[in-house]
Amino acid sequence: VIVRAAAVLVAALGLAGPAAACAQPRTSLNALEGEIMCPTCHTTLDQSDAPAAQRIEVFIRHRIDQCATESQIKDELVQNFGAGILAAPPHKGFDLLAWWLPLGGVMLGAVAVAFGVWRWSRTRDPEEEPPASGLDDETERQLDELLARLD
């Protein structure tokens, strides 16, 4: 009984070992597949069966087994393949432009549209005023007197 219990304990430790060995939660291949490009087919790994993509997946699995974090794995891939291996540019340095420029463009566009609408409404205002009668002051005065008498 003791031997059997010891065997079960060893097996359990063996199974739990790899998961418990990492200081932080492991990342997964699924989490990374959509963020890494296949260099030969220019799609993300999850959409590619190319040999190069398969080898990169093997590399990622291997590094996950070694408790490498997501950012460590990405850094190593960038070092090996260049920044083009990442599906999205990193949020640092010059690459920040790729994130902020489109946002800046949208904001600039919104400001331009708002300005245009404001200008358009200002030019439209005078047209909406009631048209002038076209009568001189004296005629208007006489007309007012006539209307007053009729009342």
């Binding site: 260099p39 030969t40 040999p51 190069a52 398969q54 080898r55 990169i56 590399f59 090996n80 393949f81 260049g82 083009g84 200008r119 030019t123």
Partner: protein, 188 residues
Amino acid sequence: MTGRAKRVGQVIALAAVAGLLVLLVWKLAFGSGGGAASELAKGQHPTAPAFTLSRLDASDGKLSLAELKGKPVVVNFWASWCDPCKQEAKALEQAWRQYRRQGVVFVGIDYHDVTGDARRFLEHHGVTYLSVLDGSGQIGDRYGLTGVPETFFVDRRGRLVGDHILGPITLQKWASAFHQGLQAALDS
């Protein structure tokens, strides 16, 4: 003032469209397209695209094509994930051992590959000639690579000569082209 602002806006918009059109025309007219391989296919002898890449056979060394000027060079693009590259590895090593006495240098350029896999490939196939890593594939693109393996020949003046070999040199149709390319690199 309103009319002037409108005209300025129109000019800016027109300039932006014209700029994009110029870029498109420039790309179509002068874009790299097929790289050096397309010029070679037209019978020209373009200068071999230069490179400085990390060596796979030395942990921190680099190799530059410029260092090899004055020597005939065989440039072979390969990858560890490429099955035909495995087929030709032995033949290339044999050719290197045969031709190195004549001063020919062989350079294997590992294309879009994981460094660890590449080193295991070299060890497994007993490759002893120079090998470098083109992980980003930029150099392969400049040569006009369509896949791996592909082989180019560079003469002593740094020009591409001979045929551009698409596929493993173990194939009969490329075996003679390989020797002709080597001869062209040695002769010119």
